[in-house]
Symmetry: C2
């Protein structure tokens, strides 16, 4: 990445670089992808689908809403934009094969910012095993990114939200509440972030979903799975509703770790109930892009799948058998 030749104009603005220069600069940094038969540069891309179907998801990220250029480097924003869509593919039990990236920005944006964004996108696509096969560019006041991810099921059935059955166990792969704690630190202006807490800020600005845990869960027989983007309880609520079941989580298995408790203590406004603040991040914090799945009760789970609860007859999500009193997950437009 970045080792290839640079395009003339990369030291100027996007307006200096021009649309074709921008596309060439982005293309030069992108992995082609093992299954790509037509990549960037034609009207459409063509990607092989060995299983006879394609898994596909799209996410839209808008400056000021999903990222801030003063909090995140272009590189980190590229990683995050890719990760959000790549995690949606993993949550179906599929492997990632390809990304398409549409970028809108002002002509005054430094071209260097766009090429660093491309390097972040390329890194995360490569980490997930995907090529970057196409996209679009446009002009807009706010930096806007649309990332479409494609995946392949390797001849398995997709793991939907709707398959959880009473008796299943609920397990999670990846951190919980780290991205929310990192956001709280950024919003509170805790600068410099203590080294012990830098992983929380990193989780917010540069999430690292456990992509291969998705296909792994499918191979283990997962009955339902979801990407935790809105918060654990909110996303388990989607699984419960789609499956027609109740999901109960055990708070003893969701105790906040040291970093979360230290982050709560470092907030300027917090004084009284640090444990409750950290617990709330674990239960309702969004944007971790960890995976939550239901498994048959006798499943031998690898260590990274931490059992946190169980599926019951009924509806809704409970914590230790009771509804959670907190503010719940995130909703757009509210």
């Amino acid at each position: 990445m970045g080792g290839g030749g640079e395009i003339a104009g990369e030291d100027g603005s996007l307006a200096d670089l021009g649309e074709w220069g921008l596309i060439a600069a982005l293309k030069a940094r992108m992995p082609a992808g093992a299954l790509t038969s037509v990549g960037i540069g034609d009207d459409s891309a063509v990607v092989a689908t060995p299983s006879g179907s394609v898994v596909v998801a799209v996410d839209l990220l808008i400056e000021g809403r999903h990222f801030r250029r003063d909090w995140s480097s272009a590189y980190d924003i590229g990683v995050k934009a890719a990760a959000r869509s790549l995690a949606d593919i993993a949550a179906m039990g599929a492997v990632n094969t390809a990304l398409l990236v549409a970028l809108a920005a002002s002509g005054t944006l430094p071209a260097r910012w766009a090429t660093e964004l491309a390097e972040g996108l390329a890194l995360e696509a490569t980490r997930a095993g995907a090529g970057v096969v196409g996209g679009d560019t446009a002009r807009a006041d706010a930096v806007t990114l649309s990332v479409t991810a494609l995946g392949d099921l390797e001849n398995r059935h997709p793991v939907l939200r709707s398959g959880a059955r009473p008796g299943d166990v609920i397990a999670v792969a990846g951190p919980l509440g780290h991205a929310a704690a990192g956001l709280a630190l950024l919003m509170a202006g805790v600068i410099p972030v203590p080294p012990a807490l830098s992983s929380l800020v990193a989780a917010q600005v540069r999430p690292a979903p456990p992509y291969d845990a998705g296909p792994e869960a499918a191979r283990l027989g997962a009955t339902a799975m979801i990407d935790i983007s809105d918060g654990l309880l909110a996303d388990l609520g989607h699984v419960a509703a789609a499956s027609g079941v109740q999901i109960n989580v055990n708070s003893s298995r969701l105790a906040p770790g040291t970093a979360l408790r230290e982050a709560a203590a470092s907030l300027p406004t917090s004084s009284e109930n640090l444990a409750a603040i950290a617990q709330e991040w674990v239960l309702t914090g969004g944007e971790d892009h960890s995976l939550a799945a239901a498994f048959p009760p006798d499943t031998m789970l690898p260590a990274r799948w931490r059992m946190i609860g169980e599926v019951l007859p009924g509806e809704g999500v409970t914590v230790d058998g009771a509804p959670h009193a907190g503010p719940g997950g995130w909703q757009h437009f509210r």
Copy 2:
């Protein structure tokens, strides 16, 4: 479309409707698609790919840049957003199978606007044979749409930009310059638009690409094809560059029709060279989303494929053997 039950809150704003209400309202209006095995509502969609590959393209549309809400109805914007991506699939010689739509808007946007947008998207997807299988919603100041289109090659090879050979003929399906003339009428404030010219405004705000002409061209043996989005000469320039050939078009086959000449005459500023203005629309006007293709010289072309030129050894695009002196096609960021 729209015949289904309405969702509570559709008479209010997007903030009233909420994210889940918006998704439900959009989903209720969307065609499922014949090849869809998992549609809207899970982490990703799953779409069958009978040919063992998927054709995929994405387009980003931003309010103020690609559409204006005072010029176009929400319904028309939905049609246009879908058409731009669907035409990219057709230009590969593929049939459309699925769309994903991401919408960002302000919470103050009337929910009715979003549902009318959905009806336009649904209509155009249906016209092209595609289901709407997924998407995303977010909040933004400017209405922003990202449309990802998927297609299937029906076991044919994709028709790329790079296959044109000296001796081939160049033909076009669909109108040329209509969208540009419509834009000129809108920008000049020619209101009311004379009935004879309303089709030009319609071509701008609600393009109707000849989707089935794409697979038709592939079956006829087209060696190269492109969606005309930037203007005929600019897009043929992409074909010439990718194929390593010269493309010459014959102005006698590109004479502006009556509507274009009347549109030029109706512009308040135009007085002297109406024929030149109309000719420029044909040669360089963008956004028609017609298809241009190269065919072997002995191809029996159906009537809707109008022969306009030929492929020669060399490079670049010429009109009657000479470079075109006009301003050329459209570039973003300039």
